[in-house]
């Protein structure tokens, strides 16, 4: 399960970040922020004229540290979803992470479909938060 989930807007500003450990929140912010570099790199590579196949939304593992693995996902509107996984949690396979991303993407789409949500604002939807919390590791 994830230790941190972040929704990053089109312009790379965070729209929603939630992590398991409040004390480490700033640390996760740094990690997620740095991972934007790699997302941009991957998007740039994908937008290369030679890359003919349609872009995959799941970007795979962006980078890893001793403690964490960071995975990325980009929607067609350039919204980024980032999941940080505890590196010691080896049981997670790629397709499980994909499923998590799909779930988050769906929940995000539901949240922004709310007519009272102003695009570009922070995501404050209760239901979305619940979905995120269900993905965060309970330890």
């Amino acid at each position: 399960m994830a230790v941190c989930v972040a929704i990053i807007g089109k312009e790379n500003a965070p729209k929603f970040i939630r992590c398991t450990d409040r004390d480490q929140e700033l640390d996760f912010h740094y990690k997620v922020h740095s991972s934007l570099d790699i997302i941009e790199e991957k998007l740039l590579a994908a937008s290369h004229p030679k890359a003919t196949e349609p872009r995959e939304q799941f970007l795979g593992m962006l980078y890893a540290t001793e403690e964490h693995k960071i995975y990325g996902y980009v929607t067609n509107t350039k919204m980024k979803i980032i999941i940080v996984i505890d590196a010691n949690h080896q049981a997670l396979r790629d397709n499980e992470i994909r499923a998590m991303f799909r779930k988050l993407h769906g929940a995000y789409a539901d949240a922004v479909c709310n007519p009272f949500y102003i695009p570009g604002d922070q995501v404050t939807s209760k239901k979305f938060t619940e979905t995120v919390l269900s993905l965060l590791v309970k330890s």
Binding site: A13, P14, E25
Partner: protein, 1138 residues
Amino acid sequence: MSDTKIMNGAADRIPEIHINERKPIVTYAGDKELFLSLEPTLSSSLPNEPAEWRRAYGRAIKMVNVSATFVPFAKDVLPKEGDFRLIDQPVLHTYWTQCSDVDAYKSTVREDIEMWMRVLLQYNLNDWVIILVETYDFRKSNKLLPRTTVFDKIKSDYGTKHADRCLAVINPLRSESRSVGSWRGLVVNLRLLLLTAFDRSLIKFEEIIREQREKRNQAGWSFTKYFLLQEELAFVLEMLGVYEEALVQYDELDALFTQFILNFNLGETPEWLAQFQSSLDSWDGLSITTGVILKERTRIQENKASLLQFRNYLFSRQCAMLLYSNKPSEVAERTLPYLHNCIRELSLLDVVMTPGASACWVFLSCLEILQTCENYKETAHVESYSKFTAGIWSYARQKLEELGRLCGLMPGQKQTSEQIHTSVQLFAGLIEESAKPVEKLKKALSCHEEFTKQYLELSELAMGTYKHIGRARSARSLGFDLAKFYWSIGDYATATSFLQNALHCYEQDGWKQLAASARLHLAESYLKLGDMLKYAKMCLSIACTPELDIAIRLKNYEYLKTTLASANPDPPWTGLLTDCLTLEDVDIQVDQGSTKVTAVFNVMCHLPVETTVSTISAAISHHGLKNDKRHRDSVDNNSIKKSKESLAPVNPFLQRLPLSVRLDYKQDKSLASANVEVKNQKSLVRRTDSHGKYRKISTVTKADFARSLTCHDVTLKPGPNTLVLSSEVNESGSYRLNQLSVMLFDNFELLSPPHQQKIQFEVLHTLPTVALTNSSELLAGLVQTAVLQVTSQGHHIAEGSALELRSSTGLTMQQSANEEDAMDERLTVELPEIMANSTYNVPILIYAALPSYKETSPIVHSISIRTPWAHEEELISLQLQPALYAVLKLHSASANGKFLFVTVAGLSSQPIRVHDPAMTVVSPPGITIAPCNSSAKNIVVDNEKKASFMWRMESMHNVKATPVKTEFSLYYETDDESDSNIPLLYKCLFELSNFMTLYIVECKVEPGRGSEFCRVSTVCQLFIKVTRSTDCGSDSSLMYEVFAEHNMWAVCGKALGVLTWDDKSNEQSVTVDVMPLVNGFLPLPTVRLSKYIPANSRYNNMRLDHQPHLEQFSAGQVYNSSKGAQVHVITASSPQDM
């Protein structure tokens, strides 16, 4: 053999062996001298060309350059059961002979081959080849009998099943030119046989490996043994130069090992794993070499390797394979996952080690990898591995920091004896002392200066590489980290610049929490640097950061206060307002009629506590008038335009889409679909410039506050506030709202950046207005009351100001208050004091004379007004409806009886009383008229009631020559209760001409012949008699026309005809057949006479058309004596006639 010995014992002397320098071993038997003479040629020609290695199980075909080492055939070199050192075993066995005599072959050679074969069979070796070296003999080709040569014999003896294993070659030493073809064939065949031999033995070997792997969960199985077994396979593949395949073997081993460790907690721990759980006493870094480090391998063989040592060996082998394949970037790519994985494994296996040992190992390994990568200097390589080396640099730096902290080498730390002991302990774990990374580490941990130097060097390299590969955020984040280091060595300036960069990066991306943490550090940096202005700004910014803890915000708020109090800057410092206040909207309000302009700002205050601000002002800039024509210099002004403007940036998502409806129709015009569409999608889906938005304005220059709206001593609450700024604006023009300035604590001025939206208001000079109003329609010919309305607008009109009114001719005026004054075309109205924005009404009387001719359309007059406040006169235009009008009509009663009939009517609903009508003939003399009216009576007329008067002409002399001019006069007054009405005289001139009777028409209808009465549907006769008067001119022709009511009469005869006069008679008669259609008293059909002017008459000379035409007589010239006559028609005589 020598190699085996090296593998077993001489590890210390020869540190590593290079597998790829090894060659497959081939034995030779038979004629050794012959072989030795050929060996150099053979050895050199084998690897010249690559051979196709076709492999079993459909594996990819590889091109392999085969070479070989030749050893004499002996039983002790042959592989023994259970010996899996494949690379030390011969794979192919050759037998060489040059026997050319069949008998000799039969007697000796065959026996020798038999023996050789028996040994091979004994060892179960099937990879053999017999080579017959022949001397070229051209006679041989002439031999007629086949199967008589030695080669034939050999083939028949051994080659029945394996024809390809018996080869003949012409000795190249004897006749080089002729042997080329056969020698080439031999080499190709040998290559293939060698590869086939490998394939065969590898398949067998793989089977053994598989078997071993299947046993992995059995007790007594050891991974290290299995590892060494499978590595042999990798060695063979490496020896053959198929490094990718060799790498696959190592990767498989890696995966298997990793899996074992992951499953470590799940089940029983296998015995062999205990070896890797033993506490760590050495943490030598990775050593990358292309060879096999014998020391390491021996250690593994002896089950003495620690986890790190084993991992090091495995990874170095993987790297070697990658480097052989010329893929240094993959080495770099695999490094971090490898290091992370090892660290994880150490913790999973609970390996006991000295603190810092793993950090040492990571640091050394990182440096080793980086050093290896640096050997590849081609741009393509550098570009591809840089992507990964940045992370490695950063990781090494992180570990060095960890070590530095541990050993008390970080700035500000003092090494305790315990820490010195730690570093000594760490050095003790480093056996490999000669390696460069070790030297570096030892140096770095030796003293503070060296440590700092190396740490900064690593940081610079990491950051530089990050920047090089375009990972700006990672670089900034690292810089942020580095700033803390610089901070602790007291280099605040450098730290500040790193922090500024980081802050900028976070702000640009909109990461508020990160920006906030950067600000906290930056504030302290500024304080250390003594840059109080920047410190104050940063404190304010922190105090206004809602993401931070309120306690921190309050603390910084206090810092700001004390800083300002102690610095007391003069002139005040300026800072950016945006941190502290967010402007939401502004409403410019105008107090009508005054010069006060008020701007109501709705702002969001981010300050943590209530703050009283001494002055808030908003600059306004004057832009002159858009329309100069409206400019009139005057004393007063008034601002007009009102607007409520939002100051928040526009969210493009919330903009309304320009949707339009599109209906698609089918061919039959029925609706196919209804859509909404956006016509110009391009403007919507266009990429917005995402960079411009975040352009941070760090410094603002103060705008011109000469004109400004201000308010004083305002208390700003945290959260929403309403600021009311006001000022007097005394100059007309268009104004633009500019910068907002907030003076905080009297000496810190916060300025807003320029507003993105243009917020304007306009100040106009407006003058008092004068208008003339009237309650109802104005009538000419009567005294009318109108109201002169003076509206002061924003002005104050002093007492005694006078308006001068001047009317156009025919219009007179009088102020109704002073009725004694005569009506005049000029009028002066004195005004009392009129306050601003009030209206003063002056009733005035106006009178416009009626025109002396018949006029029904309104009369236009104008009044020009001169006011004391304007240069130009104001012209007010008036439209007056004539009160009444008169119309004259001439009626004839007989040939000489002429009557003048005057109708008087009003034009409006206003009732007017008329009396005393009079008619006088002005010219020519000799005409007298007599009234036929009843004695003077008041008659009331309006637009519905008319009054008529009549006069009879009594004598008519000289009327033929000149027209008659008459004057009609009448007194009139408004018909209302007031007695003050003075009767007014209305005069009207009429002119009459050509009214004397010329012709008299007489008609009658008589029944047809034999009838007594006129009956319906019976033809009757209309007799028309026209009598010419004596005064008639020379008009000779006349046309008559009969008009009859279509439902009463049917004209059967000639309805029109021309009458021509001669001098004889003055009378003509015409009879026209007419038939009545109904019974009763029917009016006679009308007869109309007209002047008939025939074609080509003298009148027509001027005309272009030569058609006869008619001319009407003027009124009175034709007298119809039977006008109004009727005839009695009775019903038809018999029913048949109906």
